[in-house]
């Protein structure tokens, strides 16, 4: 009896907390929109295009991170290095033609990240530690393979990634396609539904007959594919690559996932939410830039916003 009474009371406050969180989100969105619209030059084609390009690279990584977060494995610190490594792979294999190079790059990202997923799923290894080990391995292997030199394209064909279709940069189109594909997987396929179940309660998923190892491995493979897409886009944009290319993307990606409202504890989340998260962070950065804040201050303010969002999550999930 006591338990029930207590639950009722807590449930009541839980609902209020959730409404509070929703309210804060709306106010925050309105504030950001207000700042953006009153910033000189924000609505120019130039800045919109810059924004689109900026969100494309890190956005793909963030969508990949969404899969990992959703399955209850918090985040991977190796996705940024995977971006760089796939970019190098792509550039190095361009001599075989653009399509084989693309396939090799994708396969590389999928296998490297999928292996981490298998370790996490099968051995229940700590996902953060596995990703730190993978990061170190990737950096070491890349240094060994490249001898520390920049990699330049070994073939032609990068131009198609730099063009525009109907005025929209091809890079942005690739990113949107990634979002749509990821969202399709998450809400329309069995494996996507299973990812949410494993993330919500992996013991219950096991008891319900769901192959948790396989589900987590697939989620990581999807994350690897997303990182590979980001790597290819970056390689095409800069026309050369090194291991610095995707450095720091893991942090921005997890920030975007959280700002978008995917639960850090797993079980709920979507690629569209992550798209919103990426966009919000990018808008803040562009606005700060246009208003003449220094880069250091941009980092500082982004950090504060991410911290605020995480605290908001804590309040929202505490019942």
């Amino acid at each position: 009896m006591t338990e029930i009474a207590l639950n009722n009371r807590l449930r009541g406050s839980g609902l209020r907390a959730r409404h509070l969180v929703l309210g804060i989100r709306i106010v925050a969105a309105a504030t950001i929109a207000g700042f953006a619209l009153t910033t000189q030059g924000f609505l120019s084609t130039l800045s919109i295009n810059a924004l689109l390009t900026a969100i494309s690279f890190v956005g793909c990584v963030a969508v990949g991170m969404t899969f990992i977060t959703l399955t209850g494995n918090i985040m991977s610190l190796a996705l940024g290095a995977t971006v760089s490594a796939t970019a190098l792979t792509f550039l190095a294999t361009l001599s075989f033609g653009i399509v084989p190079a693309l396939l090799v790059a994708l396969l590389f990202g999928v296998v490297i990240t999928g292996l981490q997923g298998f370790l996490v799923g099968y051995f229940q290894a700590n996902p953060i530690l596995v990703s730190i080990a993978a990061l170190s391995l990737l950096l070491g292997a890349a240094a060994f393979a490249t001898g520390g030199h920049r990699i330049y394209p070994a073939g032609e064909g990068l131009a198609i990634f730099k063009g525009r279709i109907a005025g929209i940069p091809v890079q942005a189109l690739c990113f949107f396609a990634t979002v749509i594909a990821a969202q399709f997987i998450l809400s329309w396929t069995r494996i996507g539904r299973q990812m949410a179940m494993v993330g919500s309660n992996s013991r219950a998923a096991t008891a319900a007959g769901i192959e948790t190892t396989w589900t987590i491995t697939i989620a990581y493979m999807a994350a690897g594919a997303c990182a590979a897409i980001s790597g290819v886009l970056l390689a095409a944009r800069y026309g050369s690559g090194d291991m610095e290319l995707g450095a720091g993307y893991d942090y921005t990606a997890i920030a975007a996932v959280l700002v978008g409202g995917t639960a850090i504890a797993g079980g709920s989340g979507s690629a569209v939410r992550t798209l919103v998260g990426v966009t919000v962070i990018a808008i803040i950065e562009v606005v700060l830039l246009l208003r003449g804040f220094s880069e250091q201050l941009q980092y500082l303010i982004t950090g504060i916003i991410v911290l605020a969002v995480i605290m908001l999550h804590v309040v929202g999930e505490r019942r």
């Binding site: 006591t2 029930i4 009474a5 396929t189 309660n201 013991r203 219950a204």
Partner: protein
């Protein structure tokens, strides 16, 4: 003169009074048992007497002087010690550290020789003379940890000791050691409050017994003046009422046959034939192996061995997938941890195990899934408007209905395994769940239920299997058995 007493104590949580006008007096040189069913108010009473809760009404007095116990630290200062039901040792620390952990009379650095000797003496007293003081607790079995906990209790300079089910995880030999320790304390003039489900122990070691039922004190008796039967009546005395449906037993042949099931280290050589269209209840207390058997049948044990046949076909053990493809469904005793997906919606919970049938080339038929969810919700009585709510906003009863709904709806009725299906479910929803269970039987399911609630077992079962420490004690048809018999079987079969 009483050492510790309560007079007219009432404690409410929200609108529910969990203790109503309870008066109780404890004397020196006494081992006093407190008995009662789950939810009778035992834990609340103990929490009031050890300073965790303060009563809403009534007085606590020590040496006949009214005293407000502020908090557990204050209780310790007043000479009241608690040995918790949940083991409270720090696994990474040594036995010595654990014995002195939290003792207010011990300085920060406690490597002094006198402290080692005192700890040694306490360990010897509980029969752990072979145990090194410097061994880490993490290497000890659960039973030995409980003995270390008891040794820790012996070193406390307290006058009143509370023990909450100290023997639940112990073997007979270890239990005897604890009893010896209690008798020593009693001879030293201490007071011991002993909370237990095992009635045999009440008569073996206690001087008097107080029975709580629904938050009220039924009475206090010297154990010499009553017998087991009397004590059981005091515990179970209420009428069962309209809680359970009435039905005609009509079993329709064996659906599940278990031969020589072993689940180390608990269950040894368990055999069972469960019939379709009937409820088979495995009754037993914590540690009896009842829950373990069903977990093993669900494929959730990695060490189970034995021959299991479901609907005429052999089923492989140790694999959830094998159990599920044999149409064996499992409803967990740990609803929040293993049963349902709290952060997913009610609808998603209902279809959690049915994704495969609704998938073409990996893509879900979402409209069909919604229809299935609605159908299952109807079958278990969940309001359709709640299908989109997260499961953690539902009551315990409705959450349990989600677990039920998820387990039914396969092409042919199979085997439903339920561990403690009404744990944490309030009275109204309980009756509904019992009706659902009987309904499943009418549809041809074979229901196997493990429960520690004897009233429930007798109210719902066609066949009752009683378990004690991993082996079967008795097997009875409905009507062939009463509460006293089952209670005797699962608490202390030798004395019955």
């Amino acid at each position: 003169m009483s050492v510790l007493a309560v007079k007219g104590v009432t404690k409410r949580f929200g609108p529910n009074a969990v203790l109503k006008n309870v008066s109780l007096s404890l004397d020196a040189r006494e081992i006093h048992a407190i008995c009662g069913e789950n939810g009778a108010g035992k834990s609340t009473l103990v929490k009031i007497l050890t300073g965790l809760y303060s009563p809403d009404e009534g007085v606590v007095s020590i040496d006949d002087k009214p005293t407000a116990i502020q908090n557990p630290q204050h209780a310790q200062e007043l000479g009241i010690a608690l040995v918790a039901q949940e083991l409270s040792l720090a696994p990474a620390l040594s036995v010595l550290d654990n014995i002195w952990l939290g003792n207010r009379n011990v300085p920060l650095f406690h490597r002094r020789k006198s402290l080692r000797m005192k700890a040694r003496a306490a360990l010897d007293q509980v029969g752990l003379s072979d145990l090194s003081l410097d061994a880490p607790v993490s290497g000890l079995s659960i039973g030995r940890r409980q003995l270390v906990e008891t040794a820790r209790m012996l070193t406390r300079e307290a006058r009143v000791f509370f023990l909450d089910e100290p023997t639940a995880t112990l073997s007979d030999v270890e239990i005897e050691r604890i009893f010896d320790a209690l008798r020593t304390l009693k001879a030293e003039g201490k007071t011991i409050v002993y909370i237990t489900h095992r009635l045999g122990e009440v008569f073996e070691v206690c001087d008097s017994v107080s029975v709580l039922r629904n938050g009220e004190l039924v009475g206090t008796r010297p154990t010499a003046e009553i017998d087991r039967g009397h004590l059981m009546e005091m515990m179970l005395g209420r009428s069962i009422g309209e809680m359970y449906p009435t039905w005609q037993s009509k079993p329709a042949g064996a659906a599940l046959t278990i031969k020589n099931l072993h689940v180390p280290p608990v269950v040894r050589d368990f055999n069972l034939v469960a019939e379709r269209g009937a409820v088979t209840c495995i009754a037993g207390q914590v540690g009896s192996g009842a829950l373990t058997i069903l977990r093993a049948l669900a494929g959730l044990s990695a060490v189970a061995t034995g021959e299991v046949t479901v609907l005429g076909k052999p089923m492989r053990l140790r694999s959830v997938a094998a159990a599920r493809s044999a149409d064996v469904q499992f409803i967990s005793e740990d609803r929040a941890g293993e049963g349902i997906f709290l952060r997913l919606s009610a609808g998603q919970n209902l279809i959690a195990a049915k994704l495969r049938e609704h998938t073409t080339w990996g893509v879900l038929a979402r409209a069909k899934l919604r229809a299935t969810a609605a159908k299952l919700a109807g079958a278990v009585g969940i309001d359709l408007t709640r299908l989109r709510s997260p499961a953690d906003e539902l009551s315990g009863g409705n959450q349990q209905k989600l677990a039920f709904g998820r387990s039914i709806g396969s092409a042919q009725p199979g085997v439903l395994l339920m561990n403690e299906p009404t744990r944490g479910v309030d009275v109204g929803a309980r009756a509904e769940i019992y009706r659902l269970v009987r309904g499943f039987c009418d549809q041809g399911y074979c229901v196997v239920m493990a429960s520690s609630d004897i009233e429930e077992v007798l109210g719902i079962a066609d066949r009752v299997i009683s378990m004690y420490r991993g082996h079967q004690v008795g097997s009875y048809r409905r009507g062939e058995v009463d509460m006293h018999r089952v209670l005797a079987d699962i608490t202390h079969p030798a004395a019955a």
